[in-house]
């Protein structure tokens, strides 16, 4: 909880000098703004931040595992009691799945993976090499650092999920780090960037970059925009609008980069974050969703509308008292936008592909112990597929948004069968003053569990949200 709040505070407080540029922006959207993007000169970067040999981040990752494993051992964790016999057994047993909680498997492991990832990323490597280093770090943890069979689900979420969260954190920390600053401001910038990117902070500390002063532009900073909103939600125990659990919540929507740019794209040149923190009656982390492009091509039409297609990635973590949905996926993405002007603007996106590893709650899951472990999960887990569709119509006075999301998860280990989950999410925002908005959002969540040897299940639930947001 504290860490999550610190992440939000870091973004909001420490980067205030950056987003202050948007305070008096166009009311339609920050898409209209001309942000002073920083694309560093490669030769200068290589001079100031030369690439380290590849073995350095790999060894750092192993060192991190030893430190974490040692900490777990000292804290008395049963799984941390390892030795040559447990390592041998893990190799002999091979991959399995584990019974960790939803938060640990779907958020904790990706966060751990983001540290491996950023050890490599901050050593001068690109997305793909850093993903490889995260994969090695996670694999070493699974086979060597726990006395439980190596969990394949952890390996996927830690490496690929970790790379997604890691690259997001890397770009966010780029926005915060400013090596031309000194004193208290510098301290807070380094700390703020390091709170959610400890791998990078570690490398900056040991290389002396946290205390280096230079006016050179060494870190990429792209256009970004977002909205912080505070409000409340009502999660109904069915489709009743009145009876439910009311909960105050804070949300942050953040968009980095330009989606429809015509120049060559690299992984995470564009990404979006949708996040929510609950303060009562619901799980603390209500939502963390990341959508990014790996590669994309944009076609520009004579009327200045644009069509885009490419390969996109998704990290999803959604949890409240009714449902749990999590997963990492990669797939095809399509987008279309009308010409941008100050009165009206329409944008739509469709994104579909396989879920490499996902999870969804099921009342039957607890009745199925994970093989080789004497415990069960509260959710079914496995690969699957997803479809996401989002459209937004922006006016000078606000916006209308319609999203529909669908996940299919095939159980690998748990209650055998398939989980089909959908979420319809219309949202409307009105500008009430300058960059302040009043918004309403409705979520219709539906889930169908089709099981091999059990009675099928169908559920529908309502959630309503009202919020006041500040767009930056």
């Amino acid at each position: 909880m504290k860490k999550t709040i610190l992440i939000f505070l870091s973004i909001l407080l420490i980067s205030k000098s950056i987003y202050a540029q948007f305070l008096y922006s166009s009311h339609i959207d920050s898409l209209m703004l001309k942000f002073e993007e920083v694309i560093p000169d490669t030769a200068t970067v290589n001079r100031f931040n030369p690439q380290k040999p590849l073995w350095v981040p790999i060894v750092e990752g192993v060192g991190l595992n030893l430190a974490l494993g040692g900490f777990n051992f000292l804290m008395g964790s049963e799984f941390a009691k390892i030795g040559p016999s447990t390592i041998t057994h893990n190799f002999e047993r091979g991959w399995a799945t584990d019974a960790d909680g939803f938060l640990v498997n779907m958020f904790g492991h990706p966060f751990q993976g983001s540290i491996y990832y950023n050890l490599a990323r901050s050593s001068g490597y690109n997305y793909w090499i850093s993903l490889g280093v995260a994969t090695i770090g996670s694999w070493q943890w699974e086979f060597f650092m726990e006395n439980e069979p190596p969990a394949f689900n952890d390996w996927i979420t830690t490496s690929y999920g970790g790379s997604m969260i890691g690259e997001v954190f890397y770009n966010l920390s780029n926005l915060i780090i400013d090596e031309s600053t000194v004193g208290l401001e510098r301290f807070w910038r380094e700390l703020g960037a390091g709170v959610f990117n400890p791998g990078r902070l570690f490398n900056r500390l040991i290389s002396g970059r946290t205390s280096r002063i230079t006016n050179e532009k060494l870190y990429k900073k792209e256009h970004f925009m977002g909205e912080v909103a505070f409000g409340g939600n009502n999660v109904a125990d069915g489709i009743d609008f009145q009876n439910g659990q009311r909960n105050p919540m804070l949300t942050l929507d953040f968009t980095y980069g330009r989606l429809f740019k015509t120049t060559k794209t690299k992984p995470f040149d564009f990404f979006r974050i949708n996040s929510a923190i609950n303060f009562a009656k619901q799980p603390i982390i209500g939502q963390l969703r990341i959508t990014n492009i790996f590669v994309a091509k944009t076609i520009k039409y004579p009327n200045n509308s644009r069509f885009l297609w490419g390969v996109w990635g998704n990290y999803d973590y959604l949890e409240n008292n009714v449902y749990q949905i999590g997963g990492v996926s990669v797939g095809l993405g399509l987008g279309y936008t009308t010409p941008r002007n100050k009165t009206i603007h329409f944008l739509t996106m469709l994104n579909t592909g396989p879920i490499l590893m996902g999870g969804a709650n099921s009342e039957y899951a607890l009745e199925n112990n994970v093989q080789f472990l004497d415990s069960a999960r509260s959710y079914n887990m496995g690969p699957g597929a997803m479809i996401k569709s989002e459209s937004i119509l922006r006016f000078s006075f606000g916006s209308v948004f319609l999203g529909y999301y669908f996940w299919w998860i095939h159980t690998w280990d748990g209650a055998q069968g398939n989980e089909f989950i959908g979420m319809l999410a219309p949202k409307i925002r009105f500008r009430i003053y300058e960059n302040w908005y009043l918004g309403f959002e409705y979520l219709l969540y539906h889930r169908q569990g089709k099981y091999d040897n059990l009675e099928d299940r169908n559920y529908r639930n309502n959630e309503e949200r009202i919020f006041i947001g500040f767009a930056f």
Binding site: P53, L54, W55, H89, F91, E92, R93, G94, W95, A96, T97, W128, I129, G132, T135, I136, W139, F152, F294, V295, V311, V330, G331, L332, G353, P354, L356, Q371, P383, G384, A385, H410, W412, D413
Partner: protein, 188 residues
């Protein structure tokens, strides 16, 4: 499930190819490996052999994308529960990548591959012949060293760890180590 794996492979390969821009090299390889089963798998099956053929793209001298297929076969242990000249063979189709740690004539590498094994187990149970066929996701991780002999030819040695994913129903998990040597042809 299979369809989605194929789709994923297609997406990944399409994505990776489109990222290629600098110092791209294509490599075709054949390799022969000895396989040592470990764990439950080794209770019935002895050292096996594998022959692989692969085709890959090396990007920026640092990493490569590889497609691989081959044939694996294991020998029965004398104290095995199976009788009637049982045979265990596999036909793997894999995709994966390598990270090279050095440039030049000697290139140590780390490798991870995954894909599908089409498995056939043939044995006799009493007077009945049992022919089991299963398909499982496979996983390999390991390392080795590639030696460049001249402009086009190279050899490599590798040690690879094998595991099948997620509790296969055949009563073994096919864990083991592969030790092998390969011959590489690097295209101009």
């Amino acid at each position: 499930m299979k369809k989605f794996i194929y789709i994923l492979m297609l997406f990944l390969s399409t994505n990776l190819f489109s990222q290629s821009s600098e110092s791209l090299k294509k490599v075709a390889s054949i390799s022969a490996r000895s396989i040592t089963p470990i764990g439950i798998f080794s209770e019935n099956w002895n050292i096996g052999g594998a022959l692989y053929a692969s085709y890959g793209w090396i990007y920026s001298e640092k990493w490569s994308l590889i497609f691989q297929t081959g044939y694996n076969r294991y020998r029965l242990k004398s104290a095995s529960k199976y009788s009637g000249a049982p045979k265990l063979s596999m036909f793997p189709i894999q995709v994966g990548g390598r990270l090279y740690f050095l440039n030049g004539g000697i290139k140590p590498f780390f490798e991870a591959m995954s894909g599908i094994n089409f498995i056939r187990l043939f044995y006799k149970e009493g007077d009945t012949l049992v022919d089991e066929r299963e398909t499982h996701i496979n996983f390999q991780i390991g390392g080795g060293v590639a030696f460049r002999l001249n402009k086009n030819w190279g050899i490599e040695v590798a040690t690879i760890y094998n595991s099948h994913l997620i509790n296969p129903s055949i009563p073994y998990n096919l864990t083991g180590f592969e030790y092998g040597i390969g011959l590489n042809w690097i295209f101009d």
